[in-house]
Amino acid sequence: MSNLEDLYKEIILDHYRTPRNRGELPSPPAVKTEGFNPLCGDNITVFLDVDGDVIRDIKLTGSGCSISQSSSSLMSAAVKGKSVEQARETIAKFKDMMMGHEASLESKTEPSPSELRSLGELAALQGVVKFPVRIKCAVLAWNTLAQALDEAAS
């Protein structure tokens, strides 16, 4: 059962049961972007309030499995109040971590302890990498946020 405990870490279950930053923001001025996984029906809507270079507020709605919903909750906590540039870096780091499975097939190294530390609570999702079919659940929110940042910039 050790594998499953890698996936369902307590912090993940906590964010699933008590998601952070749930709700909506008036749009406009906030950017509203929807993400959808047609295969499993998971959906996430990101409301993003960007002021200049800073993510002033972020709210989320949606439904789905514990991985997609906890990932979105963790994401919102990680980027709220951060600069757009920092958010984009976090997105890149997170997606790198999710690619660990493919990277290891190409005999590249997994994220180093310091890299994982820089991800903070998000590192809890690293166990997802061992369950390839669930990676799409974990990255849905992040792809949606990346799209929202693009829309906010344009």
């Binding site: 996936l7 439904s63 499995c65 369950f131």
Partner: protein, 411 residues
Amino acid sequence: MSNFQAKLVRGDFPLLNRQVHGRTITYLDTGATSLQPVSVIDAMSQYYRLRHANVHRSVFQTAGEATAAYEGARAAVARFLNAPGGSEEIVFTKNTTESFNLLAKSWGAKNLQAGDVVLLTEMEHHANIVPWFQLREERGIEVRFIPVTDDFRLDLSSLEELFQGVKLLSLTGMSNVLGTINPVKELTAFAHERGALVALDGAQSVAHTPTDVQDLDVDFVCFSGHKMLGPTGIGVFWTRREILADMPPFLGGGGMIHDVSVDGFIPAKGVTRFEAGTPPIAEAVGLGAAVSYLEGLGMENIVRHEHELTGDALTRLELEFAGRVRVIGPRDTTDRGGVISIDVEGVHPHDVAQMLDQYGVCVRPGHHCAKPLMKRFGLAATARISYGPYSSVDDTDVLLEALASAVKMFG
């Protein structure tokens, strides 16, 4: 009797010996695809080892044997369905989906005009919905749905009204989400009295209940080999000979022609008109072996066995998980097959399936390609348990043990 039989039957399915995460596999995803008995696997292997050649073409010994094996499978399917016209009514396709596309794009495009109504049900699989929507875009036909009641049955209260203008009723024999078995024979009589034809989606029902097309009196049947103990890559389209004779070809190419010149082509007569290109020969041989295997078990025995398993599972789910697990489908076994969709409070179906996998239990999470039905009940997904002839009460034991741990973990 059925326990004794289940043990014997299980021994015929090699995949059931597989170990997953340190446990013997518990296969409860027959609704998505069934397992194959060793007789099916051997028939396909023997075909490739000894008889492989292209069919209906060459004159050498093995080519004759390959053709005989392919046509033998067609005859087996005709017998299985009690087709009045025998082999001449059995078209091999890729799967149920292709069979429905053949129905809509050949028969439908020729016989349906703008304003004609195709009547479906709210519990159809996308395979029996999307081809009709495509025809609607092309032809301006109307697509209408028989609603589903809160008790997970077809709502037949406004049938007369729903049948206004209907040229075809196309419905599933058994819902792949709810397990509901529909009154196909009664609805067919009703449709015929009003001049409409009836197509049966047998994908979910053919391996779990007898399908006698003369008894049911339906006009079309579509189903897949891989849900009835056969291989993937082969499906069946059945209709009566006189209807088939009037249907234009669907896919063009080799094998489906009578003659081709630089000026054009003349299609072949008979079923080969619908089988363009080299067909799935080994798969047909496997399907023929699957039919023989099912006949050997006896469809009535399969019905009784799965009925007992389903009743036991429904009772124990209610007893052990009352208030926590909701069955999305009929609660008793009347007109109900061995497909049980569940909604576990506080645990998403994907997480349920992931937890069960750790116990080697295979169930399907998702919308099961029946999104209109899921929307009807306000669900994005369910976790679906589905039994087959090789299932046993032991499978239910492991399932319930794993389910208890999922419920515990998510609190």
